[in-house]
Amino acid sequence: MDFPILSSLVFFPIIGMVAVMLLPKNAFGAIRWTAVGFSLPPLVISAWLVFDYFVNFAAMGTMAYMEGPFDWIPSLNVQYLMGADGISVPMLALTGLLSTISLIASFGIKERVKEYFAFFLLLEAGMMGVFCALDFFLFYVFWEIMLVPMYFLIGIWGGPRKEYAAIKFFLYTLFGSIFMLVAILVMYFTSEPHSLNMLTLIDHGPTLSHTLQIVCFSFFFVAFAIKVPVWPFHTWLPVAHVVAPTAVSVILAGVLLKMGTYAMLRVNWPMFPEALRTLGFWIAILGVIGIIYGALVSLAQKDLKKLVAYSSVSHMGYCMLALGAFSSVTAIAGCMFQMVSHGLITGALFLLVGVLYDRAHTREIAAFGGLGSKLPIYTGIMVFFSMAALGLPGMSGFVSEFMIFVGAFGALNKVLVGISIIGVVLGAAYMLRMVQHIFLGEFNLARWGDLTDINARELVTVVPLIILTLVIGIYPKPLANLMNGTLEHLVGLMSR
C-alpha cells in the first residue's frame, strides 16, 4: 500500500497532541518545539502536494491521492474516504503554513502551555481532515471535532468576556451543523443504494425533486454560511476574534472561514445545480451586502482587531459574490484566489495586531500615533499588508478581487457588481484611516517611548506571508493553473 499521504496530514498533528500531553507540565521549551516539530511534516507534505498535483494532475483537475473507500462503520455505510483535488490542495497548504506559523507565534503563551499546544494540534488535525474528507460522515466528524479545541482555546486563553465568546462560537457553529446533519441524512436515504460518498452523491443530487434540492441546498448553505460567515450570520465573528489569542485569530480568519466557502464549492454548488440557479442571485446579493456592510462597520471601529475582523466579513463577501456568479470559471477561480490571499493577508494582519498588543496592551486605534518613527520595520510590514488588504496591484488581494469582478460582471447583474465595487473604495478608506492614525501623525513619547520593534521570532512568522502575497500578486499563473482543471470540472457540474 502506498504511503497514506492525506491521512498523514491528519494524524501527524494527532500524534503530536499525544506527545505534547505526555511531556511534563513545566517543560515549556520542549512542549513548544514538539508542537512545532509535529506541525512541520504536514507543512512539508502539503507543500509537496501542491508541487506534485501541479505537475501530475492539475491539467485534468482529477481527484487524486485517494485513500479508500475503506469500510469504517459498515452498518451505517460509513466509509473512510479521503482525496484531494485542485481546490483542496491549496487549502491544505494554507492550513499547513498557517498552523506552523501560529504555533511559532504562540511561544508567548505563558499560561497552561501544555494544554494550549495540545488543543492547537487537535485543531490542525480537524482542519486538515475537513479539506480531505470525501465521505459525509467523516467530513462532519472533522467539521465538529474542530469546534472543541476552538472552544477551549478561546475560553481559556482569551481576553475579557472570553466565556461568552467561546460559547457563542460553539453554539452558533453547532446550530449550523445540525442543518448539515439533516441534509446529509436526507441525501443518504434518498440515494439508492444508500451512500455517504460525496462523489456519488454529486451525481445523485440533481435527480432529487426541485423542492427537495432547494431544501437540502439551503440546509447545507446555512451550515457553511455560518462558518464563512455570510451576512447575516456573522455576529459570532467579531466577538470571537476580539477575545481570541493572536494565533487563534490567525487560524480562525486564515483557515476556519475558508472551510465554509470550500465546503460550498465541494458540496453545495456541484450537488444541487438546479437550486443554485434559483438561489445563486440571492447569494450574490448576500455577498454584496456583506462587502458593503463589513466595510462600513470597519470604518467605524475604534479597536484595531475588530477592524480587521469586520474587514474579514467584507472580504469573504467577495467570495460569496464570486460564488453567486457560478457560471463563470474566472469568478470561481477568483473566489479560490481570494480564499488563499485573504488567508495570507488577514492572517498576517492578525499576527501584526498581536505583535503590537503584546507590547502596548491596548488595541485602541486612537491611543497610537506616529509609530512609524519608532517602529520602522513593524510599520513597513503593517503598511505592506494594509495595502495588500485594500487590493493594491502587485499583491495577491488585487488579483483575486480583479478576477472576481471580471467574472461576476459577465455572469451577474451588472448593477449589483457595480455596487460591490464601492467595497474596494471603502476598503481603502478604513485601511488608510487605520494606517494614518497609528503610524503617522504625532508620536506620544511619554506613553510609547519604550516600545520595541518587531523581533526575530515574529519576523519569521510574517516573512513567509509577505513572500507568498507578493509571488501570487506578481505571478498568479501557477496557482491559477493548479486549480483550473478542477474548477472547470466543478463549473461543468454546476451548469448541469
Binding site: 452498518s75 469546534l147 481559556i156 466565556e163 460559547i167 439533516v182
Partner: protein, 502 residues
Amino acid sequence: MDFQLPPYDLKMMLPEIFLFLWALVVFTFDLLTNRKKETAIGYLTLVGILITGVLLAFTGYGRGFGNMFFNDPMARFFKIIFLGAAFMAVGSSFGILKQRIRNHRGEYFGLILLSTVGMMFLASSQELLSLYIGLELTTIPLFVLAAFYKDDKLSVEAGIKYFIVGAFSSALLLYGISFLYGMSGTTDIVQMKINLAITHLTFTNIGMTLVIAVVTMLAGIGYKLGLPPFHQWVPDVYEGSPTPVAAFLSIGSKAAGLVAFAKIFVNGLSAFHGPEMLPNDWGQLVALMAILAMVLGNTVAIWQTNIKRMLGYSSIAQAGYIMIGMVTMNVYGLSSVAFYMFAYMFANMGAFAIVTVFEDKTGSTQIASYRGLSKSAPGLSLTLAIFLLSLAGIPPLAGFLAKYYVFAAAVEKANSADSASWLYWLVGVGLITTVFSLYYYANIIKQMYFSREDSPYKIPVSAPAMMVIAICLIGVILFGVWPEPILQFAGDIPASFGFIAR
C-alpha cells in the same frame, strides 16, 4: 384434555439464578463478618456481577418456561447494559462505603444486585405478568436505595417520593395490562398481538378501551422513564439519592422501562401504530411526550445550579431522544434505541462516577464548586469534559453516533412515506434542543477550565472508581470511533420483533 407442563429450561435462566443467590451471599457475608469488612464486600459484589456476565455469555439464545422466558438478542443486549450499570454503580460506591453507609453495606450492595435481577427478568419475559413482576423487582429495591441516607432529609424525601410515584405508576401499568388481557384473553405478548388484531377486526368498538389501555400504560411506563408530563420526581430523586444510586437509576431503571415499552408497545401493540392519526395510535402520543421531554429537559437543565439535578434534567432529555428511535418502528428504530442506551451508559455512568468522587471529597454537588478544577485535577476534569461532550453528542464520541443513529432511523422512516413526514418535526426539535443541551454541558466545562482561579480541591480517586472511570472513558471513545461490533449486535434486535433484519 391432558395438561402438559411446558418444558422449563433452567439453563436459560442461569445468570439470573446465580445473581439472585449472589445477592443472598452478599447479605450473609456482611452479617457473618459483623459488618467489619469495609471494601471486601464491594469487591465481592463486583466479582458476582462479572461471573454473571460470563454466565450470560455462555447462555445461548433460546426460550424456557413455555414461551415466557426468552433469551433473544434484545434480552442479551439489555442484560449487558444492566450488568454494566450495576458494575459501575457498585464500583463508584466505594467512597460512600467508607463514610455514609457504614452500617448497611450488605443491604446496599445486595439491593443493587436484586434490582439488577429484576431488570434481567424483565428483559427476558415475553409475557405481561412476568414482565410486571420483573419491573416490580427492579423498582422496589430502588425505593430503599434512594432513601439510603437515613439521616439525610433529602434522601428520605427522595425515597418517599420515588416510592409513591413508583407505586402509583405500577398500578397504572397493571390497570392497562388488565384491559389488554380483557380484550385479548391472553398475557402472552405474541399471542396478544394476534388476538388483539382479530378482536379489533371482529368488534369495531374496542377502540375506546384500547385508548384507555394505551394511555394508562403509557403513563405507567412514562413515570419509569421520566417522560413529561410524568417527570417531576426525576430531579428530586436524583438530587436526594446517594449519587451512585442516582447513576444506577438513570441507566438501569431507564433501560428497564425501555425494554418494557418495547415489549408492550413496539411488539404487542405494533398493529396500532400507524402514520395516520388514528384514535388508537400511540406513535404520535409518544412523539409528543418525546418532544416535551427534549424541550423541557434541555431548557430547565440550563438553570440548574446543582450538578445532580442538572444530570436529572439531562436524563429526561436523553429519554426524549431515545423515544425518537422507539416511535420510528422500522428496522433501524430498535437498534438505534439499544445503541443509544449503550453509549449513554458509558457517558452517564462516567459523569456520575466523577460527580461521586468529587462529592466524597468535597461534600458538594454545586456546579459552582467545580470552578478551576482543571488546575488541581487535570485528568479528572478532562475526563468529565469528554463525558459531557459525549452526552452533548459531539463527534467522534459514542454519544454522537448514538444521536446520529436515532435521527437516521427517524429520517429513514419520514422519507419512506409521505404520511410519516411528521417525524421530520421530531428530528427538527431533537436537533435544535441538542444545541440547547450543549449550553449546560459546556457550562460545567466552563467552570472547570475557564476560571483563572485555582480550585482548592485535590480529588483522590479510589482504585475501583478509577477503574469505572477508565472503563467509561474507553467506552465513550472506542465505541465512538469503532462502533461496528456493537452496531452489528444491536442490528440483530429488530429481527426478534418481527422487523426484517438488514
